[in-house]
Symmetry: C2
Subunit: 196 residues, 2 copies
């Protein structure tokens, strides 16, 4: 045990990760402009100087939040899908995962769609992160579709299904109905070739 008896008020921990985690939660629920850094700091119990030693600006914190959100999103989705084996079942899992997401209490839409809506291209880095996230989801869909439709038809259908997922997010956000996920999956099944 190298740790002595005396200890700092807050034990040795990764403040940076804690900041990102807190900011992710608050930005997801409250929006990027509506949540100020003071709010993030108070919630995280971290001093302002600490934030600005790790990040040059609030936008840089938002960018890191989006990168972290992308990692968690993809990991959670992949873990959910990997509990299933049949190709059609795995594809259905993507929509089922979205349904669970829509049902979460603080659901307030997709952080990437929202960042595009709030900054609408004025902050190039954030717009790029949103685009990359959506592209990653589409690429993931291609892999799920290939066993069902063959390698040629998969990319176009993946783009279609990606649009369906964004549509479900929008409908769920405005109407509050988590059933938008099932509607999207119902449409997806009808769009799949009969051979699948």
């Amino acid at each position: 045990m190298p740790s002595p008896l005396s200890s700092p008020p807050v034990p040795r921990a990764d403040k940076r990760a804690h900041l990102v985690d807190t900011a992710l939660r608050l930005f997801a629920a409250g929006g990027y402009h509506a949540i100020g850094v003071d709010r993030v700091l108070a919630e995280a119990g971290v001093a302002k100087k600490t934030l600005y030693t790790h990040f040059p600006s609030k936008n840089a914190l938002i960018a890191e939040v989006l990168r972290e959100r992308d990692r968690r999103f993809r990991a959670s989705l992949a873990a959910f899908v990997d509990r299933r084996s049949a190709p059609l079942d795995r594809l259905a899992g993507v929509f089922a995962w979205h349904r669970q997401w829509f049902e979460e209490p603080g659901f307030a839409g997709c952080m990437f769609l929202n960042v595009a809506a709030e900054f609408h291209g004025e902050v190039a880095e954030l717009q790029l992160l949103a685009r990359e996230h959506k592209q990653a989801v589409e690429t993931y869909l291609v892999g799920l579709l290939e066993p069902l439709t063959g390698i040629d038809a998969a990319p176009a259908l993946a783009a279609d299904f990606n649009l369906l997922l964004d549509g479900a997010i929008g409908v769920a956000l405005v109407s509050g109905e988590a059933g938008a996920a099932e509607r999207a999956w119902s449409m997806a099944r009808r769009l799949l070739p009969a051979t699948a």
Copy 2:
């Protein structure tokens, strides 16, 4: 001519409507939190007191902007669709109208999806206006679908197509590709019964 020779510095006009028009343009392009009332007033050339005699708060102005946006949206869409007569052509017009919208220079997504994303239910009036707008679009789709699919199948397909439109908006916002509208229309055609 009842108007005398002398005139006020700004000619007699409907300041309220001018305020709403200016605010609509700025909020659409810049977002609701990012644009302050001072910016709206400067752009409109109107005094602050005038705004607060017509509206009790900024949120009330946003609400009126959304009502105006809903009126213009529906009128513009209906006028576009009414230039066509064949039922299938009229339905296609909805997606074509969206394509034109996506191609507009300052396109920054749907003001109703955006208000839901920025305030996410914290301001009940705004959330309700967003819901009503989307409901109105869906009802309009029902009317366009009935000649094609019959009165029984139209409501469910209208909800489907509404989701497609929201999906196209999201894809266009993040990717910048106006072709999302055609993708959505391509999906819509495939979802229509073969008899249509």
